[in-house]
């Protein structure tokens, strides 16, 4: 049986092959997340290395009652916060409301005549989304990437980011609205 828990147990006993399997299992989703967050492949690969090293050092603190992927991405999310702090990038504060976290979103859908989707093929939309994503504030982009690129559930994202599920849903929606508007503007 090679589920995450048994791999962690083996790695804790010094089995490096087991930790290698963990790396191979999570390197791609982790690098995808870091790449979308930094917009820089090399930085994403460096960060991914650091995150796996951190995970290895604190492997004994992992509790099998949680999903390993959630635990690993929590380390990754904290790593990104440290990175933004160090670089003094004006990461948008999680306390700063983009709209109103509690109430219903204020995004308007007034221009229903204009359809982004109908005018562009998926491939083109992807290329433009890639660029548009970089312009979405980190705090929103991160939740959006965790949801739509890494396909975590809203509950898992709430656990990774220590946020209420409702706030996560609202911010993912706001990120998508920002993307949609940017796609419309750059048509």
């Amino acid at each position: 049986m090679n589920d995450d828990s048994s791999l962690v147990r083996k790695a804790l006993k010094g089995d490096r092959k087991a930790f290698e399997m963990i790396i191979l299992r999570y390197q791609q989703p982790l690098v995808n997340y870091l790449g979308r967050m930094t917009g820089d492949r090399e930085a994403a690969l460096d960060f991914a290395q650091d995150i796996f090293l951190k995970a290895y050092s604190s492997l004994a603190s992992y509790r099998t009652t949680f999903k390993f992927s959630t635990w690993l991405f929590k380390i990754a999310a904290n790593h990104m916060i440290d990175h933004w702090r160090k670089k003094k990038i004006s990461a948008v504060s999680l306390d700063q409301p983009y709209d109103d976290d509690e109430g219903s979103p204020r995004i308007q859908v007034e221009d229903r005549e204009v359809s982004v989707a109908r005018k562009y093929e998926l491939a083109e939309v992807r290329a433009r989304i890639e660029k548009a994503l970089e312009r979405v504030p980190e705090a929103l982009r991160e939740l959006f990437v965790l949801r739509h690129v890494n396909e975590f559930s809203y509950e898992e994202i709430a656990e990774i980011k220590d946020l209420p599920v409702g706030t996560v849903k609202n911010r993912v929606f706001q990120a998508k609205e920002m993307l949609r508007r940017q796609l419309e503007e750059t048509r």
Binding site: E20, I23, L24, Q27, Q28, P105, A117, R126, N170, E177
Partner: protein, 192 residues
């Protein structure tokens, strides 16, 4: 029903709504071309994002990480294991003294306290040496604790819980036999 809010549309597309909410939205969509168009627009964004190309990871990435790993993962609460081992050893020493001599624990503590005070009063210059020894002792205790933890982990992975329970019970019985056996021998020696 009025037009579907975009945030509800997203949750609908992601399968996050319950059956009743889904049905309500679907009923509305069947009658509202405008909402159908907006829904399609949002679906394309979801599909495009889900299909974003993966960022290439070099084939030797895992090997590079493995080469940077320390010798072995740090045990959780490593320092706590040292402290716990030191306290356990101290308590075991006091208990052993109590069992062998029959002196009350309070008496043992008082005499230990007096000895310690006397020691500090008389041998302050030796304090530095004592600290040095303490460091060595702690290091040994930590290593002992870590080895003990590793041993316990290995044993626990080798045996089923009921076997483990049996082993522990036998170990306790053996320990008591040894302690009381020693006490008996000491008391026989005193009588003769």
């Amino acid at each position: 029903m009025s037009c579907v809010r975009p945030d509800r549309m997203d949750l609908y597309l992601e399968g996050e709504l319950d059956a009743a909410e889904r049905r309500e939205i679907e009923d509305h969509l069947a009658a509202c071309p405008s909402c159908r168009r907006v829904l399609e627009e949002r679906r394309v964004i979801d599909l495009a994002v889900a299909g974003l190309p993966a960022i290439a990871v070099p084939p030797d990435f895992a090997r590079t990480v493995l080469d940077r790993l320390p010798e072995e993962p740090r045990p959780a609460f490593g320092w706590l294991a040292s402290v716990a081992t030191a306290i356990t050893l101290l308590l075991a020493g006091l208990l052993g003294y109590h069992l062998l001599t029959g002196e009350s624990l309070a008496g043992v503590l008082v005499s230990v306290g007096r000895s310690v005070m006397g020691f500090f009063g008389l041998a302050v210059p030796l304090l530095a040496k004592v600290l040095e020894l303490g460091k060595v002792f702690l290091r040994l205790a930590r290593d002992f604790g870590a080895a003990l933890l590793r041993g316990l982990q290995t044993v626990s992975s080798l045996f089923r819980p009921e076997i483990l329970g049996l082993i522990l019970a036998l170990a306790f019985i053996l320990l008591f036999l040894v302690v009381f056996g020693v006490r008996k021998i000491v008391s026989l020696g005193e009588k003769s």
